[in-house]
């Protein structure tokens, strides 16, 4: 019995280790979410979904793809170490809701763009990869998008950062969080005033 258990454990661990180094597995969650997004948008255009339902469905699809906790720490930057656990949790929630807001506005501006994903990502080291994609818009130059992916045990590959046309979004948001800390005078103040509007206005 013990031998069977040990064998099963070794198999599970090796599958986990294999997944962390599989370049195809790294881009698979992105492909699933992208394809579901197109299906949902088609349903919306056919009148089978309301705009509100579409936003909810897309938020539900995107949420497991994005490593909120890691992204929140990345955005808080040096202030994350000064913040309490409660403040970090609160910022994770606020960041999540501002991302949902961003999806909704992105949908409103959606004009038939196609996200072209690579067949496989580039494994930088076990558990860390990048996927070089591009966003093709009708009548416009394709926009290069780089997804930084990290492997989370039990969750799989998740997006940790996005670089759009050479602009590091995580770093840009970190600078905006630092600006908010400076303008409000505290980390708590910056968390309270963090929203899609406050970030996009800066």
């Amino acid at each position: 019995m013990k031998v069977w258990l040990a064998t099963a454990l070794v198999c599970l661990l090796s599958i986990g280790a294999w997944a962390q180094e599989d370049p195809k597995a790294a881009v698979e969650p992105l492909k699933i979410v992208r394809d579901t997004f197109y299906q949902d948008v088609s349903k919306f255009q056919a009148g089978q979904l309301t705009e509100e339902e579409l936003v909810i469905r897309i938020s539900e699809q995107f949420a497991p793809l994005i490593n909120d906790r890691t992204v929140a720490l990345r955005v808080m930057g040096k202030f994350a170490r000064q913040a309490t656990q409660a403040e970090r949790d609160r910022f994770t929630d606020r960041l999540e809701s501002s991302l949902v807001d961003a999806y909704a506005r992105g949908l409103a501006a959606y004009g038939g763009e196609q996200l072209v994903l690579p067949e496989e990502g580039v494994i930088l080291k076990p558990g860390r990869a990048v996927a070089e994609a591009r966003l093709e818009s009708p009548g416009r130059e394709a926009l290069p998008i780089q997804f930084a992916l990290g492997f989370e045990e039990g969750k799989g590959w998740m997006v940790e950062n996005v670089v759009i046309a050479g602009i590091n979004l995580g770093l840009t948001l970190r600078n905006q969080f630092a600006d908010l800390v400076q303008s409000t005078g505290s980390v708590t103040g910056a968390i309270d005033s963090w929203s899609f509007e406050s970030v996009s206005a800066k």
Partner: protein, 153 residues
């Protein structure tokens, strides 16, 4: 006797001037030592390092914390790997630290700016920074601007 003392004074003055010039050159070029407690090595992966050279300074919050000691091309990822020596005095960069290639002033030299993240674990000797912001190439920017202008017409 008087002439010898005068010559010695002039010699000492010239030597002092030369030392001041050497100090100034080291400070301006960023070649001066960044700390007395030794260094550790970090690398960063950039898509484009346009204009960055070895011995360029590495700074965090405007403070020089190290310098670039090597730039190489990684065939596997078609990216540039920049090796940096960081002073042990600044050994608390989190694992999600970002590295950006910045320009001192409008047309100044390129340098690397480190911005620490919130990860509780710190980078150690030999670690790689993957979260980077590459150099912005002016020609590419102008090209994109012109293309967007023509597509909007």
């Amino acid at each position: 006797m008087y002439s010898r003392r005068l010559e010695l004074s002039v010699g000492a003055f010239v030597l002092l001037g030369a030392l001041c010039l050497a100090f100034l050159a080291l400070e301006v070029s960023g070649l001066a030592s960044t700390g007395d407690n030794g260094t550790y090595r970090l690398s960063a992966r950039f898509d484009n390092v346009a204009g960055l050279t070895t011995r360029a300074k590495v700074s965090a919050a405007g403070v020089t914390v190290g310098r670039v000691v090597g730039i190489r091309y990684d065939k596997a990822t078609a990216a540039a790997i920049v090796d940096m020596e960081i002073s042990q005095d600044f050994a608390e960069f989190s694992e999600d630290t970002s590295a950006s290639i910045l320009t001192a002033g409008l047309l100044g030299e390129k340098y690397i700016g480190l911005s620490t993240g919130g990860d509780p674990n710190n980078l150690a000797d030999g670690d790689m920074i993957y979260d980077t912001q590459s150099a912005i190439v002016l020609e590419e920017l102008i090209g994109k601007f012109l293309l967007n202008m023509s597509s909007e017409k």
